[in-house]
């Protein structure tokens, strides 16, 4: 690791005062420290926000307010989440290992970096790690790369399970700006498509902090998270689907689908949700939804397998959610 200063923040104000150009906030550190060891990330200062009391889950009207440093394990085990937002518990439990979930935080999980092997290798060009240097993945060996939302500059897949569920649940992210004011950012729009600036992954500006994630009351009681991966546990998704559905009189009255393993950001397609809404469940409908989802996909050698896999997983999830 490169040398860095370490500051333990006393409060939010202090954390943002301590933040200087080239610094990074740290809470769980499971992703950041890994990348620092490989010198993929080389912050000159770490500002520790792990002891600011942001580790509470509170009732918030008919929803929940989840502090930014609530660990993945505490969130997955929370009785309220298990009962009313089970897709979130399931997504969290499908990710990482017991040890990592005890450290990894809610805010940090939203900022998790891609596992593209070229991003991880400082000896290869990568527009995300070193803007303008090129993309070794293009023409390189591909497997767990994105097929949706890619650009000519980046094929990096958005990792993580929790954000996929949060998209389907219409979560809202609380961000404290550098002026100390808090704003609410819906999950939709929080992550940025790579375009020609793949190094900018979210709408956060330097020094801005995620303080909480707000979950509105669930709009569907039929919730499913299905993750397909290379091994049964402790692996990233090849394809994952989070479904939040409501059925009224045999008709789908609410449909919200999040997708992992496919996109450069945690994916959701409003047209797919709209196609399913006000329809009766059927194999033909589910197949049409998959076709719509994948209409803009850009499969390459090594990632083409994801298209038929996504179609099958989506169909299985929708069958389970509507049975």
């Amino acid at each position: 690791m490169r040398p860095f200063d370490y500051h333990r923040a006393r409060d939010l104000q202090d954390a943002q005062t301590d933040y200087v150009s080239g610094a990074a906030f740290i809470a769980g550190g499971t992703n950041l420290l890994d990348l620092m060891k490989l010198q993929v990330m080389t912050p000159e200062r770490l500002v520790d926000i792990s002891r600011l009391g942001l580790d509470r889950i509170e009732d918030d009207g008919d929803g929940l307010r989840i502090g930014a440093t609530v660990t993945n394990s505490d969130l997955a085990a929370d009785p309220r989440v298990r009962r009313r937002w089970p897709v979130l518990s399931r997504a969290l439990l499908a990710g990482a290992s017991g040890q990592l979930r005890n450290k990894a935080t809610t805010g940090g999980n939203l900022l998790q970096r891609t596992r593209c092997p070229y991003f991880y290798d400082p000896d290869t060009p990568c527009n995300k790690r070193d803007p303008g240097s090129g993309c070794a993945a293009m023409g390189g060996e591909l497997r767990n790369h994105a097929v949706l939302g890619t650009s000519a500059h980046c094929l990096a897949l958005s990792p993580g399970d929790m954000p996929v569920a949060l998209r389907a649940l219409d979560a809202v992210i609380e961000i404290r700006g550098t002026d100390g004011r808090t704003r609410a950012q819906p999950m939709e729009g929080f992550h940025r498509l790579p375009g020609d600036t793949p190094e900018r992954e979210t709408v956060l500006d330097p020094g801005e902090l995620i303080t909480a994630v707000r979950l509105p009351a669930p709009r569907g009681d039929r919730q499913v998270y299905r993750k397909v991966r290379d091994r049964a546990s402790y692996a990233f998704a090849l394809v994952s689907v989070a479904a939040v559905l409501r059925l009224e009189g045999g008709v789908i009255s609410h449909a919200a689908l999040g997708f992992g393993g496919l996109g450069t950001v945690p994916w959701r397609d409003p047209e797919v949700d709209a196609l399913l809404t006000a329809e009766r469940p059927s194999a033909a409908l589910f197949d049409e939804a998959a076709t719509l989802l994948l209409r803009g996909a850009e499969p390459r050698e090594g990632t083409a397998f994801k298209l038929p896999l996504a179609r099958r997983v989506l169909r299985a999830v929708l069958e389970e959610a509507t049975q």
Partner: protein, 174 residues
């Protein structure tokens, strides 16, 4: 930077570079070499210790971030309800080279406590519990600990035994 760690019940003052991981602080500065460095990237689990009772990867944690925390390593496990599990691992041949064993032990104690608290896992049918410690549940809950000698059957059996006889988490075992 000066910090204090409470390691296996003993308060230890340390003066460390900010880059020192909790694992290196234990092994190189406190000479507690029971916790092992396998991958140093959180993938193998050989470095697993308990921090304030919860299992974590000591390699993916900065020592300075644990100032004031209570750390339990394999050296202190017998005082943290681990003796029965340690014996069960011996009885079931739950190791060959033994390199992953300290991490397996600390992880299993942490895992049994999570089970006692009623935490679900990816392998659980429902999220509400109670959860039975089946083979599938153990495999899932212990997936952060790899064994290159592939002694999983022995480790698995030892954990089932230890859970039944009340080491770690009493009530949760079948």
């Amino acid at each position: 930077m000066q910090i204090t760690l409470n390691v296996n019940g003993v308060s230890r003052a340390l003066d460390l570079d900010t880059r020192v991981t909790l694992l290196d602080a234990l092994r190189h500065h406190l000479r507690l070499t029971g916790s092992k460095k396998g991958c140093d990237h959180g993938q193998c689990g050989a470095c697993t210790v308990l921090a304030n009772g919860r299992r974590i990867n000591a390699c993916l944690s900065l020592a300075v971030m644990h100032d004031g925390d209570a750390i339990t390593t394999v050296e202190g496990l017998h005082e943290a309800d681990g003796a029965g599990l340690q014996q069960a691992v011996i009885d079931h041949d739950g190791f060959q080279c033994g390199y992953c064993t300290p991490g397996q032990l600390c992880s299993a104690i942490g895992m049994l406590d999570e089970l006692a608290q009623g935490w679900p896992s990816h392998a659980s049918d429902g999220l509400e519990g109670p959860f039975t410690l089946t083979q599938a549940e153990i495999a899932e809950r212990m997936s952060g600990n790899l064994c290159r000698c592939s002694c999983y059957p022995g480790i698995n059996a030892a954990i089932r035994d230890a859970a039944k006889t009340g080491t770690g988490a009493t009530e949760a075992a079948e």
